[in-house]
């Protein structure tokens, strides 16, 4: 009989995961896979409260680790990608910029995700600090709730530039605008992303099957296409 799984996935995975799941469905037509995108932190809290998620793809490895430690995980913590951040703009030639351009007086607002709880925001802050620009650009910063929201600030022109996920910048909805500038990953700690099979999915073969599918070459191609750097 057909099985069913709910996948809770970090919002930055949206485009890659949609494609992966479509491919997966081709192979496992009778099975039912639902993906729910959202903030990794929210999923973390909800899983602790018994949310019906079978797989949890976090944007930050810290959350699955914490869950594994407190016994909410059935599998070990499985890293699946490293995230990269880019400088992106809808109105300027971002590919000709660098972080130093952010001090330009033409730029009044710079959007980053909230470093307090969004992993991409945290890396953005680290990169700015490492470039010794933080103090100078901080007054211009506006904080998005998550990376998609940050992109919207930029996309609507309210912020001239933003630091967003590479996966987002490669998205067709945003890609054609002004290009992007990849921020060197030496400027920030690696943004290691990982997933787990939750305790709830203990006996669920489909969950296991999907976890395995993540290692398939088809999946790896898709992930790379969307700007994720794969582990090893």
């Amino acid at each position: 009989y057909a099985e069913k799984i709910n996948i809770a996935a970090a919002a930055d995975l949206k485009f890659a995961m949609d494609e992966i799941v479509a491919k997966f469905r081709e192979v496992n037509a009778k099975d039912d896979v639902d993906v729910i995108y959202g903030s990794s932190g929210k999923f973390y809290t909800q899983i602790q409260q018994g949310a019906p998620y079978d797989l949890y793809f976090s944007a930050d490895i810290a959350f699955p680790r914490e869950l594994a430690k407190s016994g909410f995980s059935f599998s070990e913590v499985i890293p699946y990608a490293f995230g990269r951040i880019v400088l992106w703009s809808a109105t300027m030639e971002a590919n000709k910029m660098s972080l130093d351009s952010l001090t330009s007086s033409k730029i009044s607002h710079i959007a980053i995700a909230n470093p307090k709880h969004a992993p991409y925001g945290k890396r953005a802050e680290e990169a700015l600090r490492a470039s010794r620009l933080w103090e100078r650009v901080e007054p211009k910063l506006v904080y998005g709730e998550n990376i998609a929201h940050t992109a919207q600030f930029v996309q609507t022109g309210n912020a001239q530039v933003g630091i967003i996920a590479l996966s987002l910048a490669l998205n067709p909805a945003l890609a054609n605008k002004g290009g992007y500038w990849l921020i060197p990953d030496t400027l920030h700690a690696p943004l290691e992303q990982a997933f787990i099979i939750t305790k709830r999915a203990q006996g669920n073969d489909l969950a296991k099957k999907f976890a395995d599918y993540m290692r398939s070459s088809a999946t790896r191609t898709i992930m790379t296409k969307y700007g994720f750097v794969l582990p090893n």
């Binding site: 949206k14 729910i36 909800q46 409260q49 018994g50 019906p52 998620y53 998609a148 919207q152 909805a173």
Partner: protein, 227 residues
């Protein structure tokens, strides 16, 4: 432009069901509370009135967070429902219902309380002299006279439940067909930068709501008072 995916349509139905159920239940719960607040003379009605308005001041997703904690396996409500054999409420439709009730209560109670107060004692006294028991008088006199208040309260409650997603997202977990209501669906579309779909769904919601509101307003009686 108005192309809706099946999951959009599912979300709309779920929204209408949720808002309808919440409005109905709140009519049942809110009416006696409002009636009591309007008519009692005990001093502690004032703190109670204030407590009812309190959920409003917390951000919805924070309220959702606290409700999640309370209704979860380790929370008091959760342990209670578990003991009753209902299981846990978060991530279920009824969990959403309960959370929305909690959050929308002031929108039901406050307009009703005002409407009941505006009726005054006299019509109820008259009803009593015409053999109507208090309950009878309540339904045959107080409710019809407070009709504009009922309509306002229901509109605010319904619309607020339709629009609310902070609580719903937190407690519902965004599960298709179960807790993924239209507001969450639109939010997802926006987050996924699927603007066309967000626009379509928003437009459908707006047009539908406008039609419903227009019907309600057209049918709504105006208040009449004889000096």
């Amino acid at each position: 432009m108005m192309h809706l995916t099946p999951s959009d349509i599912q979300a709309i139905w779920l929204t209408i069901k949720l808002a309808g159920v919440v409005t109905l239940i709140l009519l049942l719960i809110g009416t006696p509370i409002a009636w009591w607040l309007a008519r009692t003379k005990v001093w502690w009605k004032r703190p109670i009135g204030a407590v009812i308005a309190l959920p409003l001041v917390l951000p919805p997703s924070v309220l959702g967070f606290y409700l999640l904690l309370a209704m979860g396996p380790n929370g008091p409500v959760g342990q209670f429902t578990q003991a009753l054999g209902i299981g846990h409420l978060p991530f279920t439709f009824w969990g959403l219902v309960i959370a929305s009730i909690f959050y929308s209560l002031p929108f039901m109670v406050q307009p009703l309380q005002n409407a009941f107060e505006a009726i005054g004692e006299r019509p109820l006294e008259v009803a009593a002299t015409l053999r109507a028991s208090p309950l009878d008088a309540f339904f045959t006199v107080a409710v019809p006279l407070a009709l504009p208040g009922f309509i306002t309260a229901s509109i605010l409650t319904f619309a607020h439940t339709v629009g609310e997603f902070g609580v719903v997202l937190m407690i519902g977990g965004n599960i298709p067909g179960e807790t993924r209501v239209a507001s969450v669906q639109i939010y997802d579309h926006v987050e996924a930068l699927e603007y066309m779909q967000a626009h379509s769904l928003s437009a459908v919601m707006l047009i539908f709501s406008f039609a419903v509101l227009l019907c309600v307003y057209t049918w709504r009686p105006s208040v009449k008072r004889v000096g």
